[in-house]
Amino acid sequence: MNSRINSTLVKPTINLGFIVKRAGVLSLIQDEGRYGAFNLGLTNGGPIDKLAFHWANRLCSNELNVSAIEVSVGGFAIIAQVDTVIAVTGAKMPLTINGQVKELWRSYEVKAGDLIELGYTNVGVRSYFAVAGGFDITPSFGSSATVCREGIGGLKGTKLAVNDILACAVTTKAKLIKLAKQDQPKYCNEVLLRIIPSYQHHHFSPQQKKLFFSSEYKVGKSCDRMGYRLAGQKISCDIEGILSEGICHGAVQIPNDGQPIVLLNDRQTIGGYPKIGSVISIDTAKLGQLAQGGKIRFEAISMEKARKLILRDLKLFNQTQVISLNVYF
């Protein structure tokens, strides 16, 4: 790659694709996430709502892990510079193309010059904007996932900004498809988080566990891609801290103030607070669609049950039929 940059014989490639007109609250390039770099202190990143991300790519007939844009809260606008196909899934953000109202959960042809806008969300927090073939982003440590805290991924390790150009391929005669209404994930303001008791769970007394699993929590004001701080019944642990250890996705940390924190994609890789268990990924995706004030309950499940649920959801995703909207093929 360096030789190409240094060479004077090759003309620089003019990258075309989309140009950001309004960046919105927090819009990030994400692929499935960064794996294999934990030993350098790098976290995963990747889409908070993996199911919606996968659907966005599938509706563009993409490999499921290619780069798309995660738009949090909304206020995003982008102009196509090439003819291609797009799809938006996830949180209910009003979508327009050249001012015309369009549906989420389906693919559309766009032409160079078209303006695509995503308004502010009505329900849910994150939506996914995918393009046929995915955005062409140079990976860092094997992934394009943007982790702002680390300054890694995306175009330059930061959230998208006005005038950023996101390269992609030109696509014509594309397959246009949609996901039937009844197959679309529903977002609401209440989520049940299924949790595998793990890590230091034996340091929480049966009474404390009972409190934890019978209480309702609310999403606090500090909720971001690193983790969701919850507010509600205090939980106490019989130890104050532990030697820092690896934190997996979904781990629920109970710091000294007794208020749980569910750790998500951009979490620190190691930490020293006791953890009561880990929320399964199907449910962290739903949690990540909650805004401040969203209601949460926890339910304990076994590792075997968790595995069954995950494999069942995967099968369901693969078996769900999409509706074809054109007859090119």
């Binding site: 794996y35 294999g36 770099a37 934990f38 030993n39 350098l40 202190g41 790098l42 860092s140 440590f141 805290r149 680390e150 300054g151 890694i152 595998i196 008791p197 793990s198 890590y199 030697l243 820092s244 250890e245 690896g246 934190i247 997996c248 996705h249 979904g250 781990a251 620190q268 890789t269 190691i270 930490g271 880990s278 399964i280 990924s281 590792m303 968790a306 595995r307 995950i310 494999l311 995967l314």
Partner: protein
Amino acid sequence: MSPELRIEIAGENALIIYFAEQANAEVAAKVQQAQLLIRKTMSNDIIDLIPSYTSMLVVFDLLKVNHQQVANQLRMLLKNLQIYHDTQGALIELPVYYAIESGPDLNVIAKHANLPVEQIITIHQQQEYRVYAIGFAPGFAYLGEVDERIAMPRLSTPRMKVPKGAVAIADRQTAIYPSTSPGGWNIIGQCPVEMFTANKIPTMPVQVGDRVKFKAICKEQFFALGGVLGTTYE
């Protein structure tokens, strides 16, 4: 298998191996040895590993294996985990410009330790440290253990900005800030060596389990090695 070794559930696709209760050099070497073994023999099923003080998080591919299979494989693999002398981790020497202008907390530590500043600097160099963990930020290596005489609790209010390369102490740990960031450790000097370079192989000069020694350099050497004196904001 050492009697203390435990394998426990962490999450839907993760197990955690506990090698011991207390961190020390021998345990760090064990963690590193186990990491090498797992990477070598289980790479098909393993997505990533997080080695730390006394543990290792093992993230596996749920579509290929279940947690019992992984736990069994790990038990078999680590049954005869032996620490050979030549796998005890590389010894890396890192230069440090120790001075009041690069180490604004030297005086505080000296007062706390009731020792002259020069001796704080000497004691910090005498120890051979182990890389116990890497985390907090990309390239941030936790090194232990700092001589008890110069151990120092974290600042009660973390600084908004600690310069890149700052060498610092928190309790019995020491570290080098790989990039400018907020931080609450006590700064005693500055290291001109890059601790994290995204587009370089290796990305970091050290890995978990390696040994580190610090060596004092003068201001001229610090600049010659590419060091840039940072400013610290309270």
